[in-house]
């Protein structure tokens, strides 16, 4: 009896016409490069998924989209997305992206990098690009640590955490990145966690449509280094923490959104203002000062 059943079942399977299911984000990935290098439980892949959803939802022109990363775990995003993608030097994704945007203003340029890359070694470029209001979309995956190199203290590592370079506990103050970039001049600032995949995707879509310097911080788990060393459990525990301790407060003053090791995570859209971007200001200035002598950049592209 049971034998017959099994035979029928397998026959059915062979004859069954299964509609092929395509993962909607796969079109944006260099699938030939999979498997990726990220650890089990890492949140970076989740952010890429939200990013890809935003590409679909926003209907952004993919042909005019370039993605720039620095160095680190998140720096590897550039290598996995099927876009014109640049894996640059440590900390310098923003100035490279600035060059792309200045030479070809038609490009939409996304900077996709980590907290250490963008706010430590690249901190100077972060604040100056925000000050200039260069038209870039910065996605900062903040896993609170230097993960690629083995779990060293980052400018974002919360006080009292233990890292490989602060084995007795971190005693230096950490950056509150939304506060930093708002003060420097960013026109769009949001923070979500990898638990908030829909909200993150929506925020990325909004940033695409925002002229000027936008900054989205994504709090993301690093089970291998940050959580393990701090006895904070695995990736699922991180999701539970994000779920339980996140408070959505759109428009919260960024001075109040600093992170602690186990406390509340304030998420939401904090800043969404209008301010002319660098290239708009540049053109206006040249028009005013040079009049007819000003020649707008058209095709700087050498054949």
């Amino acid at each position: 009896m049971s034998d017959n059943c099994n035979d029928d079942f397998s026959t059915d399977l062979v004859n069954l016409e299964v509609p092929s299911i395509v993962n909607p984000v796969e079109q944006f990935l260099r699938s030939e490069r999979v498997p990726h290098i990220w650890c089990p439980g890492c949140g970076i892949g989740t952010t890429v998924n939200s990013f890809a959803r935003a590409l679909i939802d926003s209907k952004i022109d993919l042909g005019a989209l370039a993605l720039v990363s620095g160095i680190g775990c998140t720096g590897r995003v550039a290598g996995y997305v099927k876009l014109d993608s640049f894996h640059t030097t440590h900390g310098r994704a923003i100035p490279f992206a600035t060059g792309l945007k200045l030479a070809n203003p038609k490009l939409n340029v996304v900077v996709y990098s980590g907290d250490g890359d963008l706010s430590a070694i690249g901190g100077n470029h972060l604040i100056h690009a925000a000050r200039r209001n260069i038209d870039l979309n910065v996605i900062c995956v903040n896993n609170l640590i230097y993960a690629m190199t083995g779990g060293q203290t980052a400018p974002t590592t919360p006080n009292q955490s233990t890292t490989s370079t602060n084995p007795y506990g971190v005693f230096e103050a950490s950056f509150n990145l939304p506060h930093l970039v708002e003060a420097a001049g960013a026109v769009y600032v949001a923070r979500w966690t990898t638990f908030h995949v829909r909200q993150l995707s929506k925020a990325i879509s909004e940033a695409f449509n925002k002229k000027g310097f936008s900054f989205i911080e994504v709090i993301s788990p690093c089970p291998t280094l940050y959580q393990r060393r701090n006895k904070m459990g695995d990736a699922l525990d991180a999701m539970k923490y994000y779920k339980e301790k996140s408070k959505i407060r759109h428009g919260a003053p960024t001075s109040e959104v600093g992170m602690t090791m186990t406390g509340e995570i304030i998420v939401g859209k904090f800043v969404d203002i209008e301010r002319p971007d660098y290239q708009t200001m540049m053109k206006a200035q040249y028009h005013e000062s040079l009049g007819e002598r000003f020649v707008e950049q058209t095709e700087m592209v050498c054949s």
């Binding site: 060059g99 490009l107 020649v295 050498c302």
Partner: protein, 390 residues
Amino acid sequence: MKAGHQKADPRGVLTGIHFMDGDHACCEGALAAGSRCAAGYPITPSTEVVERFASRVPTVGGVFIQMEDELAASITLQGMVWAGAKAFTVTSGPGFSLMMEHIGYAAMTETPCVFVDVQRGGPSTGLPTLPAQADMMQAKWGSHGDYEIIALCPNSPQECFDLTIKAFNLAEEYRVPVMFMMDECVGHMSEKVVIPPADEIEVVPRRHTHKSVEDYLPYGTNGDLVPEMAHAGEGYNFHVTGLTHDERGYPNMTLPIQDKLVRRLRDKIVNAVDRITMTEEENLDDADVVVVSYGITSRVAQRAIEAARAHGLKVGKLRLITAWPFPDKKINDLAAKIKAFVVPELNLGQMVREVERAAHGQAKTIAVPHAGGGVHNPEEILKAIVEAAR
């Protein structure tokens, strides 16, 4: 004109006879070469190059941005290049030190671009307003790893114009960062500069791919050693990384790929050394002694050479216009025929080591060092020539 070469865009060419300094002439050279993009950070004695560029470029359709530091400037220009522009940056010693990582990035990613270094006295802050030629080894070896660059050394404002065009052309031809090694004297001296009509200026276009998206391999070379380039926004969806990469541009950290890539980066320059090398030569045929010099020092050496010949000494002149790749064979061939090389330079001994190495012991090599801050007294060089001729 070689096949595929173009004439300069007349909009950027300030045709005429000018009295201008080397820094300004360098800027005009960049514009004539078709550069409409630059990123910079102020540093004496180089700033005049970008000051002029900032003033000129909005009238010819382009952009200059003053970045927050040299690290930024030296990578912003590479973003400009990958968006399709010809771009450069300008600096001096301390800034040049900060740019080293991005010279390596440009070499690894084969980003055609120009780094202008108006050399001043060092080390460290050194002598901001006074000349030196002490960055010559840094220009070649300053970034980590094995790689090749091209370095040119102008000795007059006229050459600051002419050779800046050449620097851009070489950058495009070989997809390599070109170091334009000026010095404070050449940068700040004013002389006659003749800028020819645009149709007399040859410009090398980008090695842009004509392949379809499907057929394009970003680092495939077909034996030519120099790959074809695509630009962001053209639909190629290509990847660029400073990691060791395969022909697709994808990271691949295996030994065979490392070996293949790093050897190609070397070979594309070293195999072309004869085509790249430019020298100025006088009286080499009957010479017992050859003075090897470059930049401002070549003009001081000229006086010493003339004085020596007036005394009946058989002295020849070899001026290195291209310092890197080093013309080993030229030095080696000369060494077989002469008694000695005399090598004056505004450092305590840099290119002289290359001369000595390439001479393979066939001729003596006499250094005439100078710590920088001024130029040699021609008598110092003359004394060395007399000693060498004995």
